[in-house]
Symmetry: C2
Subunit: 335 residues, 2 copies
DNA sequence: TTGAAAGCGTTACCAA
DNA sequence: TTGGTAACGCTTTCAA
């Protein structure tokens, strides 16, 4: 019969101390003489002792898990974001519980499951959690942070790219690049971030003196992603001079769609997309884009989580992350 | 003072039964009269009772967690694979513990952490776990399955795309498409799957009567990914007629690199890449590729996990997943 | 069918 | 500084 696994009891016995001392030695928590500490640690290593996280979590009412809610991680921007979050989560000594959702119902179930694992925090990168459910989390002292979500639930912290500033950069670039007629490309049923970018674009153009009622048209893609952009392009006879696009996938599809018609940027139109995905930098696209600082977004998300864990009742906070214009090939140099 | 959370005890009291009965009602495990079952379930719903997974796992010595080891999920193929795995894991009622590793050391630590959470299984999509460590898992009855790894550790199951068959398809396509001189493009320090594809390509050409000693050259990219492919292209004066490439990212980079020199497929050379990533299908590339069936790979991975959980001592198995040639624009029609 | 009780492996409080 | 002990919340014998 094989011993299933080494427990604190085993270590205690072998080191000639009590379980309690073992716990203290390993957790640096509670007073213990340096000598015994050394000895226990040595024995623990000898025996290959590993704390049982389930037991630890049960006792502490909190696991070292952080729940992450994502969707469609095939999308390059989303996988970049997940990448950044995983790195940050691991850097802080947590493990990521990742769930991909396909509906709001799945989001609810997931949030429950996270709670059942007594996670140390939840990061929502997709969907809109119902306020009631989030309140349950808050009541259980589980910090929740939303990324690029509309900051509207009390007790939840948010990290968002500064969409408005990004849209303004795009507007300025296009105007100074000589455009007179503008287009805003987004897909139907867009996210909050997408809609926000569109509204801010209009506003920024207004302030730059553009008569947006006349000279700004909305191009609506029938679906999201590359294919949506391509379809939007095929529905157009002659593109506006300066086009701002809600995200990179849409922009790449649109550009390819126009090329199929023999039109290209920057000669026939200028194009700026949001999200600086790797693909937009490639030779075939060299798209001017707005870069979302994924590393900074991830860093702030964890920071909010940790701070709220320390003080659960503090007021909600929203961090806006600076967005940069990456000037490439699909927009003209400003004069 | 707020009640932290509803426990089985609470439900038991309210339903006028014992904790044990509550457990039976919820787990469908152990005999219980339909009437009390109904009643308990009703009360549980009323009170919003949720099983504490930490306590459950501690008692059962197994959590409903499955550990997944990944790396560089920015790569479109890898994020597709992760996507498939997450779907399959959730479909079976598990939660995914995802860790991104950057070194073999991190792999070891991760494997330990997974064990500490008493995961129901581990899926390795990157790195090469040391046999000793895997044996610890095996001893703890934790099933391990490797995806596209060299199947060489006893007690571990594997799921691999049929690289050899894929390479043979590519060879045949290129030969029948009229190529006489061939190239194999891979990056330095390639994975086992990559090397295997290269060897199989040579073998297949041999069998098709090509004098590979003379007419097959190896193009070595100095790094992986798109940039590596581009660099490989820039080191070439005149490309071989038919090029097979270890993966899609490399292939896209190579194609763009050649285009930069004014050469394009299929007129100046033919190109077939492994991994049918979304990008390869796009208008700018329309690359002929070998499709890895991610859904099937994921399905089999979970199947192996579940079967080995049932019978931990069964001999290791390796499933080879069929690969399909997607004929697109970078190879000529066969005559 | 039901309930009592003994774990599962930790941690934290309280005496010593 | 240490050890005993009572949780943590659940599952699973074993009797009744």
């Amino acid at each position: 019969m094989i011993k299933q696994s080494v427990t604190a009891e085993d270590v205690a016995r072998r080191a000639g101390v009590s379980r309690a001392v073992v716990s203290r030695a390993l957790s640096n928590n509670g007073s213990i003489s340096p000598a015994t500490r050394e000895r226990v640690l040595l024995v623990a290593k000898e025996l290959g002792y590993q704390v049982n996280f389930l037991a630890q979590g049960l006792n502490r009412r909190r696991s070292h898990l952080i729940g992450v809610i994502v969707s469609r991680i095939n999308d390059p921007f989303r996988s970049s974001l997940l990448d950044g979050l995983l790195g940050e989560i691991q850097r802080h000594g947590f493990q990521a519980l990742v769930t991909e959702i396909r509906s709001e119902q799945e989001l609810e179930d997931t949030l429950r499951h996270f709670a059942q694992f007594r996670v140390s925090g939840v990061i929502v990168t997709s969907g809109k959690p119902p306020e009631a459910l989030v309140n349950e989390c808050v009541q259980q002292q589980i910090p929740v942070v939303g990324i690029n979500r509309q900051p509207d639930i009390p007790g939840v912290d948010y990290v968002c790219s500064d969409n408005a500033a990004g849209a303004a950069l795009a507007a300025e670039q296009l105007v100074r690049g000589g455009c007179r007629r503008f287009g805003w490309l987004n897909n139907d049923n867009s996210t909050w971030a997408g809609r926000m970018r569109g509204e801010a674009f209009r506003l920024a153009l207004d302030e730059l003196g553009v008569d947006t009622a006349r000279n700004l048209v909305t191009l609506l893609a029938p679906q999201e992603g590359y294919d949506g952009g391509m379809q939007a392009a095929s529905a157009i006879k002659s593109p506006p001079e300066g086009i701002f696009c809600a995200n990179a996938q849409l922009a790449c599809g649109f550009l390819d769609g126009m090329r199929q018609q023999g039109k290209d940027a920057p000669q026939d139109f200028q194009l700026i997309g949001f999200d600086n995905t790797p693909q937009t930098a490639q030779y075939g696209y060299r798209l001017t884009t707005l870069n979302q600082n994924v590393a900074e977004i991830s860093r702030l998300a964890l920071m909010h989580l940790l701070e709220r864990a320390r003080d659960p009742l503090q007021p909600s906070r929203t961090s806006w992350v600076k967005v940069d214009l990456i000037h490439r090939h699909t927009s003209l140099p400003t004069t």
